[in-house]
Subunit: 199 residues, 2 copies
Amino acid sequence: MAVADEDGGASARPKRADAVRNQQTLLAAAAEVFVTSGVDAPIREIAKRAGVGMGTIYRHFPTRADLVVAVYRHQVEACAEAGPALLAEEESPFTALERWVDLFVDFLVTKHGLADALRSDSGGFEALHAYFLDRLVPVCGQLLDAAVGAGEARPGIEPYELMRGVGNLCVGRDDDSRYDPRRLVDLLLRGLRGTRSSS
Amino acid sequence: MAVADEDGGASARPKRADAVRNQQTLLAAAAEVFVTSGVDAPIREIAKRAGVGMGTIYRHFPTRADLVVAVYRHQVEACAEAGPALLAEEESPFTALERWVDLFVDFLVTKHGLADALRSDSGGFEALHAYFLDRLVPVCGQLLDAAVGAGEARPGIEPYELMRGVGNLCVGRDDDSRYDPRRLVDLLLRGLRGTRSSS
DNA sequence: TCGTAAATGGAACAACGCTCCGCTTCACTT
DNA sequence: AAGTGAAGCGGAGCGTTGTTCCATTTACGA
């Protein structure tokens, strides 16, 4: 749900099925490549990963910013939907939270690259950021409440605080192998769990 | 004075004369190109403008950041030295201030590009920024005081404030022809001069 | 004046962005 | 089911840029 048709509204002509399929494939492939190679990854690489030609990418996303924004929205949606799913399938709410944060970090890599790719249209960026908060903070809160409720996490932390903290840990790294944000985030979560004996 | 030899200290071997000449030429040429084409200007273009080969640039400045930083320092120095010089050669202190601000805006183009080219080494950037303030604020103050003293500018504005204002007017433009910071700066200075009749 | 090491220039290679067009595949009509 | 128009696709090819490398030139000390 929620993702609907990604279309402006009533489409004059329904898009061809293969086109829609390719668009989804591209979004997924681009997301993967962005994580490993950054948002400046060569178009060829994304095309190869998706198993399509470069022309297809340019057809769907004329500029790099278009592609990054699309991936961004796609990721926000996936992240939001993954929250309840993880909560349902995981035994421990805290483990669900951990896995969700991991997805969230993947997403942040794209998000930070976005700021670079979009410095021209800063208005549109603000809008996306607002959308991002509206959509994700409640999900994070749901996971956090569950973990706190199960006695697996210390209370007193707001969802926005946690997301902001994780986000800040992920800034500033640029193909710098000396700094791995994920390790720091891991520490942060370990702290959130607190001393196990306290429960 | 002040520029000294740009060298770490006692050089074991004096550099060859043509090498230092070329280095100066490159600094000047790069500064010009940065203003017109941004800090991402092709190396070839800078080389051509300086009348040297590309190899020469890579010899003096292995990475683009090295070049940008060198230009940055060079510009700070030039700006600082230009202050008193303009004050001496111009009839009106306010005109001197105007011309100085114009140089300052040129310099800001480089400065802003610097932030992008240096996102990795943010520590070094802070150091440069401090150097920049220490060196330039007094010069700006000197010009400002002169203009105020001559009754050509309203009092009550601190040098740091003025520089900050001009600096802020110059952010955010990226080959966007709709926004010309220089026009805005001109307005700001017009406001600083105030109503001519007040003197 | 002469030898040598520093310095130079630009050809050459690699990687990338973007365009363009012949071919493929879909969706709709009859 | 078969035909048909066009939407969609792939990737070769062109232009641009970063970076290296080395034959040649040039400055400086002896």
